[in-house]
């Protein structure tokens, strides 16, 4: 069954249709939540919350064709809420890396990945959200602005600053790497 039909049925209270709809979007939601929140448990909770809110508020969605954009807004809000909740629960939250950073003689690719990982974690959730929606979900800047309900100029500014920060992280890493190699030589 097409997504539009599922949305219409779910909107009128059909739980089976909603289950099918949720199953078709859960992986996408989780991937975006994970990239924004950088924590499996928080991404789990944000994804679950998004699905429940989608069910609850689906009757308010007027145009079924706008389901994806509407769902994205719910997800972004759920990620923000989850981040806030966690900050309250754990005042000095430490985000542990999902994998140990590569060390020493790793290839350039791996070093770059580690630098990106560290740089990305240092971005604020707002900056990460803009970067993920633009560079991962493939949304235009205007679509990102709509998804996070901020003016287009704000999105441009967030993308610009996040890009600068990540570039700086990569360049710093490259400098450290060169110095290390130089020192060894």
């Amino acid at each position: 069954m097409a997504q539009r039909e599922l949305v219409e049925l779910a909107r009128s209270g059909d739980r089976d249709a909603f289950s099918a709809l949720a199953a078709s979007v859960v992986d996408r939601l989780y991937a975006v939540a994970m990239l924004i929140l950088r924590d499996h448990s928080m991404a789990d909770d944000a994804t679950e919350e998004t699905i429940v809110r989608a069910w609850r508020d689906l009757p308010s969605l007027r145009d079924p064709d706008r389901f994806d954009a509407w769902l994205r807004r719910l997800l972004v809000n759920a990620c923000h809420d989850e981040g806030r909740r966690q900050r309250q629960r754990r005042p000095e939250i430490t985000l542990l890396p999902d994998h140990e950073p590569s060390v020493g003689d790793a290839s350039v690719g791996l070093a770059e990945r580690d630098a990106l990982e560290r740089g990305f974690r240092r971005l604020t959730p707002d900056h990460r959200t803009a970067m993920v929606l633009h560079h991962y979900a493939g949304l235009s800047l205007a679509e990102v602005a709509e998804s996070i309900s901020v003016p287009l100029g704000t999105v441009k500014s967030r993308i610009h600053h996040a890009t600068q920060a990540l570039r700086a992280a990569l360049e710093a890493d490259a400098r450290t790497d060169n110095m290390t190699r130089g020192g060894r030589a």
Partner: protein, 264 residues
């Protein structure tokens, strides 16, 4: 430009690699378990328009029957009135049916404030009398609690970014963003429900100095300001919302009138 493109390609490749391809089954199962018991939020217009064709036809037939009976009774009263000799009495009786209606039965709650005429009958309560502890679960909170003052203890936090496309007036009640409340006890529970609330900027309390603390909060649904709620600018690509629907949405906003910090 090349430098930009190279960086973007690197970043995009990294994001693609970092993104998990699958959510765990637990996430979907947990969500669907909650969905199984969670009602959908519907305005009264949507409830009236919703349902299958058969349901709608049945509803329409029932409405026609009610109108027919009302007309019949009206005609009978009209015939009887001259015999009584005081025709104005029946007119008065039918003109003042519900102006003093208390919007909800709330014996377990604080005393009612002067009641507003309720737009819909008391249909939103899951239980009777309604329990403030299940405030979040009531499908139609304005219908259930009316505008009776509700007092409970909660954790209060800043609302952050609240997503309300379009333009509305009064915005503070259509798009409550003054903070959110989590009932104490639920605060540490994953997925605990929370309640966004509004504060009347002209007469409400200052709440920001109690952010991130526990408070005893008093507020109500069905605020008088809801009656003036309107959409100034519709959501792009969507048709303007009818005035009655706007009022109904605004009636569902919890309006905080008093906040007292609790001892840590």
């Amino acid at each position: 430009m090349n430098r930009n493109n190279d960086f973007n390609h690197t970043l995009q490749a990294w994001l693609r690699d970092e993104a998990p391809s699958q959510a765990s089954d637990r996430v979907l199962n947990a969500a669907l378990e909650r969905v199984a018991t969670e009602p959908q939020r519907r305005g009264w217009l949507q409830r009236a328009a919703g349902g299958s064709t058969v349901t709608r036809l049945t509803r329409a037939a029932a409405l026609v029957a009610v109108i027919a009976i009302a007309l019949f009774v009206g005609l009978q009263l009209g015939k009887l009135a001259p015999d009584v000799g005081e025709p104005s009495q029946s007119a008065e009786a039918s003109a003042s049916p519900t102006a003093s209606l208390s919007p909800s039965p709330t014996p377990s709650l604080a005393p009612s404030t002067p009641a507003l005429p309720s737009l819909s009958p008391v249909v939103g309560c899951l239980d009777s009398p309604p329990d403030v502890k299940v405030l979040y679960d009531q499908a139609d909170r304005a219908a259930c609690f009316g505008n009776a003052p509700l007092t409970f203890d909660a954790h209060l936090a800043a609302a952050g970014v609240v997503d309300c496309p379009g333009e509305h007036d009064p915005a503070w009640i259509y798009c409550p963003a003054d903070g959110w409340l989590t009932m104490i006890g639920d605060t540490n529970k994953t997925g605990a429900p929370f309640l966004l609330f509004g504060v009347d900027p002209t007469s409400g309390p200052e709440v920001s100095n109690t952010f991130d603390g526990n408070v005893r909060v008093t507020g109500h649904y069905d605020d008088l300001a809801a009656q003036t709620c309107r959409e100034v600018l519709a959501i792009p690509g969507e048709s303007p919302r009818p005035a009655a629907e706007m009022i109904q949405i605004c009636r569902q906003t919890f309006v905080v009138t008093q906040v007292v910090p609790l001892e840590p």
